[in-house]
């Protein structure tokens, strides 16, 4: 389970304090597929980073009793001048997994071909997200934090992700943030909106989706 209670997050900028989250509560149980919709700058990535523990709230608490992935996002998680393979080794070492039996599965899923052994900084965003996904799948987390990267993959990649996470790993939780209604609609059962630094939960998924589309 993950429990966010009364979370406030702000950043001090040169022009004063910038409030991103103003009192957020959220509880995610094992196996739940949660989608969070928000416009650019609404605080989606901040929320994901707080959930992962990379950032800490200024006020409030985050409790984790699940094994949670790092934020699977377009930036972060990797070292740019290392190859995909070396990043895989690094991440396996950090999470205490043996990389030797993971190389094959990651190569298969990420479909990077010879780029698997090239520096990550030369990857396209699609390649990066395939690698991030592939590595997070072999480490096996109880909860995956997904920040937009499903949206940059092509249809084939999205289908394979869905197969891996929603069919083969039904019991795992997912928290997916996106500005893209289709991604959230396809993948999540529970949908929330993030607006003005708060999370808004609706009586059902359809209402949440409609409300988000109206606000855009």
């Amino acid at each position: 389970m993950i429990q966010l209670s009364g979370v406030h997050k702000w950043y001090d900028t040169r022009h004063g304090r910038h409030h991103v989250l103003n009192g957020v509560d959220l509880c995610v149980r094992p196996g739940e597929k949660v989608g969070i919709l928000g416009r650019n700058g609404a605080g989606k990535s901040t929320l994901i980073r707080l959930l992962s523990g990379v950032e800490k709230p200024n006020v409030g608490s985050v409790e984790r009793s699940m094994n949670i992935s790092w934020p699977l996002a377009l930036s972060g998680g990797f070292q740019g001048s290392l190859s995909g393979l070396d990043n895989l080794k690094f991440i396996c070492r950090v999470y205490g997994a043996d990389y030797r039996d993971k190389i094959g599965p990651v190569e298969d899923f990420a479909e990077l071909g010879k780029f698997f052994r090239e520096p990550i900084k030369n990857y396209s965003s699609g390649m990066r997200s395939r690698l991030a996904f592939a590595i997070s799948l072999v480490i096996e987390f109880d909860c995956y934090l997904i920040d937009e990267i499903l949206s940059v993959g092509d249809a084939r990649f999205r289908d394979r992700c869905r197969e891996e996470i929603f069919v083969k790993r039904k019991e795992r939780a997912i928290i997916l943030v996106s500005h893209n209604v289709a991604t959230v609609k396809q993948n999540c059962k529970r949908v929330l909106n993030i607006q003005n630094g708060r999370l808004i939960e609706y009586e059902d998924k359809e209402t949440a989706l409609r409300s988000y589309m109206e606000s855009c």
Binding site: K9, Y11, D12, S52, G53, V54, E55, K56, P57, N58, I68, W70, P71, A73, S75, G76, G77, F78, Q79, G80, S81, L82, D86, K89, F90, I91, R93, V94, Y95, G96
Partner: protein, 258 residues
């Protein structure tokens, strides 16, 4: 506590492996460069010193003097230099909850330890075998001096790394700051050569004690040294404590929690 130490060990190991690949790659001599780079530096400077000093013909063992001084310089300074630039290239990796800034600084200092120590061992053994220098009179004392300076370099690395992470401008002023420290550290002198009035001031510089210790161990009775190992020990404790506290503060700052 036990679990978090196991995690930290894993993370530092992962970071060291990552540094090894990005710095020298797998081609050619690869990882050996960690040792060869400081060894070459010391060797070149020592050769220059030897030819320069030869004209003033002295009975003093110039080569061993240069070898100890420049090896120790690299031991205390290289870790801090590397820690100063640690944040930016590792920012992406800090996205993994268990990878802390402290681990990033430590991994870099440990690698410099390995390089400086390997280089010192290689050169001193090769020079002893070649008969260029006499073997140390008191190996144990050399070792204690070396270990105390290694510890100092860890503390200094944490301080410099954390300050550079907190104030990015510190990374730029550290290098110019380190030059006067280099001159004062005892690379170029024995305390005994200084006027009595200067000695008590220079003995405030912690690195001087390491130089005096290692040279005392090397040369034995032919030199008079003024080290105080307990002073260096106390400085190490204080600097390490400050370094750990600053690293903790930098971590909070980096995770946006002030």
């Amino acid at each position: 506590m036990r679990r978090s130490l196991a995690i930290q060990r894993r993370v530092i190991h992962a970071l060291i492996m990552r540094e090894v690949i990005t710095r020298y790659g797998r081609e050619g001599l690869g990882v050996l460069w960690f040792l060869l780079e400081p060894a070459l530096f010391t060797l070149v400077v020592t050769i220059i010193w030897y030819y320069y000093r030869l004209q003033t013909v002295t009975t003093f063992p110039v080569i061993a003097f240069s070898l100890t001084g420049f090896s120790l310089l690299q031991l205390w300074r290289n870790g801090a230099n590397r820690a100063a630039t640690a944040l930016e290239p590792n920012q992406g990796l800090i996205t993994h909850r268990n990878v802390k800034l402290l681990d990033v600084f430590m991994a870099r200092v440990f690698l410099e330890w390995a390089g400086a120590t390997g280089a010192f061992l290689l050169l001193s053994m090769a020079m002893t075998v070649a008969g260029v220098i006499a073997p140390p009179e008191d190996l144990g004392y050399v070792l204690v001096g070396w270990l105390l300076i290694a510890w100092f370099s860890l503390g200094l690395g944490l301080v410099v790394g954390a300050l550079s992470a907190i104030f990015s401008v510190f990374e730029k002023i550290w290098r110019p700051m380190s030059y006067p420290l280099f001159l004062l550290s005892g690379v170029f002198f024995m305390v005994d050569w200084l006027p009595v009035s200067l000695r008590e001031f220079i003995l405030w510089v912690p690195m001087v004690h390491g130089n005096e210790m290692v040279r005392h161990g090397f040369f034995g009775s032919i030199v008079t040294t003024y080290e105080n190992p307990s002073y260096l020990l106390v400085v190490n404790l204080v600097v390490t404590f400050i370094g750990l506290s600053l690293a903790k503060y930098a971590q909070r700052e980096n995770s946006g929690q002030r």
